[in-house]
Symmetry: C2
Subunit: 256 residues, 2 copies
């Protein structure tokens, strides 16, 4: 059965989508079969993977509500071994649709259980909020990967996220664990980055990956070409960091 | 009556909170009486203005639901003429509480109408989402200021935001206008910034402020001191840009 990892953080713009796309690509390059599930109405993961005309496709909203099978919605990307379930604008309305249903937190877990395709990893891109979409992702997931931007406001939000994860684990999903924390947009010339890194390693200990993702302009250029940075410019510091992160992940898993 | 401006963009991390705090400070420095309303459960605007122990205070959640008057919740900041209604963690639950009530989009508009204090401006910091909190802000506001990060994903999200604003104007709040678009985190060494600026000026015309906010590390340091960057380091490029933005705003209003 696949390892389901939710990439979540309610703070906006911390590198959730960038981490999903590039980690998925790096894992797929090691012959793992990977699925990206885009659960953000903004649909940045879909665009970043080159999916066009999102509104014409079967999307994660229909899969979430059980109207379509995951297999019907998934699209194989230009990266071998990597598929994506694209997002749809109608995800914005999911909160209002789900809130009065019973089992509203379990919709995604039920949909993923029906998936027959053999994936090694399913990575879920979450919106910047602790709403029912993110809750569904945390209930369906085995673990949570937390991208943490090296900025003050991002650090402030971590306590709220950890509290929510603990509550979901207690009430809805006992197997949920924090898979790890990855520092993003790290700028070694900037004291703030260094300070945040120290704080985070003190707070989370060895849950923090050794690999740190540097601020790197090639990363922010890649989405306009509809490609992961690993395909856009694999030599750049950003791409190399994500390749290294995937390596560290796989090594950590072998030791478990 | 005060000019109510919602600072909104569902894309995360584009500089909404930073714009609210620093624009409010610059306007207050010109002797305008300004109120910041923190409608984001993350509470970054409250922290950035030096508000501590948020959970012990009366907050924007109670004001939104009509349980407390705005005057009971507001705190005068260390910046003369500038007050803030702090956010509370219970705002996360507001969506689920409001969704089944009638008039769920008008709660904030009703609460602001009861305000007796004479403010010239009320600036509302919105969460990174098009949820009921942001809807309430757009229904209560006279206009919307859109901070736009000079990045590809931020540009992609603009169409969705404009569509939502038009819908709110048509269905709930006929006076709602786009006050302006302000480019943030602009890096003149980066082609992507230049490309985004051209696209945005072509799309929005003179709705785009001439003032562009540069990427400036002092801006991201200021929140850890609980101060607007204008107080933390008024000489830096970031502070000067926000002072210039306030000037441009006031000039534009005089010409209307
Ligand atoms: N390491 C990096 N260096 C430079 N730019 C980056 C880096 N990581 C992400 N970015 C850029 O920063 C912006 C925010 O990243 P991204 O969209 O991945 O964050 P997010 O957490 O998914 O945002 P949201 O909360 O809106 O979903 C994007 O424009 C992205 O291209
Ligand atoms: N011009 C700038 N230069 C450098 N850093 C900036 C600039 N503007 C904002 N920042 C930093 O970038 C991060 C995102 O900004 P901010 O939190 O204001 O965005 P936001 O849109 O309010 O985010 P959210 O969507 O989570 O509410 C913060 O850490 C902030 O300090
Ligand atoms: Mg994202
Ligand atoms: Mg904010």
């Amino acid at each position: 059965t696949p390892k389901v990892i939710a990439i979540a953080n309610q703070k906006g713009g911390v590198g959730k989508t960038t981490t999903v796309i590039n980690l998925a690509t790096a894992l797929a390059a090691t012959k793992k079969k990977v699925l990206i599930l885009d659960l953000d109405p903004q649909g940045n993961a879909s665009t970043g993977m080159g999916v066009r005309e999102k509104n014409k496709l079967i999307n994660s909203y229909q899969v979430l509500l059980g109207k379509r099978l995951l297999e019907d919605a998934l699209i194989w990307s230009e990266v071998p071994n990597l598929a994506i379930v694209p997002s749809g604008v109608d995800l914005t309305g999911a909160e209002i649709e789900l809130v009065n249903t019973s089992q509203r937190e379990y919709f995604l877990a039920k949909a993923l259980r029906k998936c027959k395709t053999e994936f090694d990893y399913i990575l879920i891109d979450c919106p910047p909020s602790l709403n029912l979409l993110t809750m569904n992702a945390l209930v369906a997931a085995d673990s949570v990967l937390v991208p943490l931007q090296c900025e003050f406001y991002a650090l402030e939000g971590i306590a709220m996220l950890v509290k929510t994860i603990k509550r979901i684990k207690r009430v809805f999903n006992p197997r949920l664990e924090i898979y790890g924390v990855v520092l993003t947009m790290f700028d070694k010339r900037n004291n703030l980055s260094i300070m945040v890194e120290q704080d985070v390693r003190n707070f989370f200990g060895d849950k923090v990956f050794n690999t740190v993702i540097p601020r790197n302009v090639r990363i922010s250029e890649a989405p306009s070409h509809g490609k992961p940075v690993i395909l856009y410019d694999w030599r750049c510091a950003g791409a190399q960091a994500y390749i290294q992160l995937a390596g560290e992940m796989l090594k950590k898993e072998r030791q478990m």
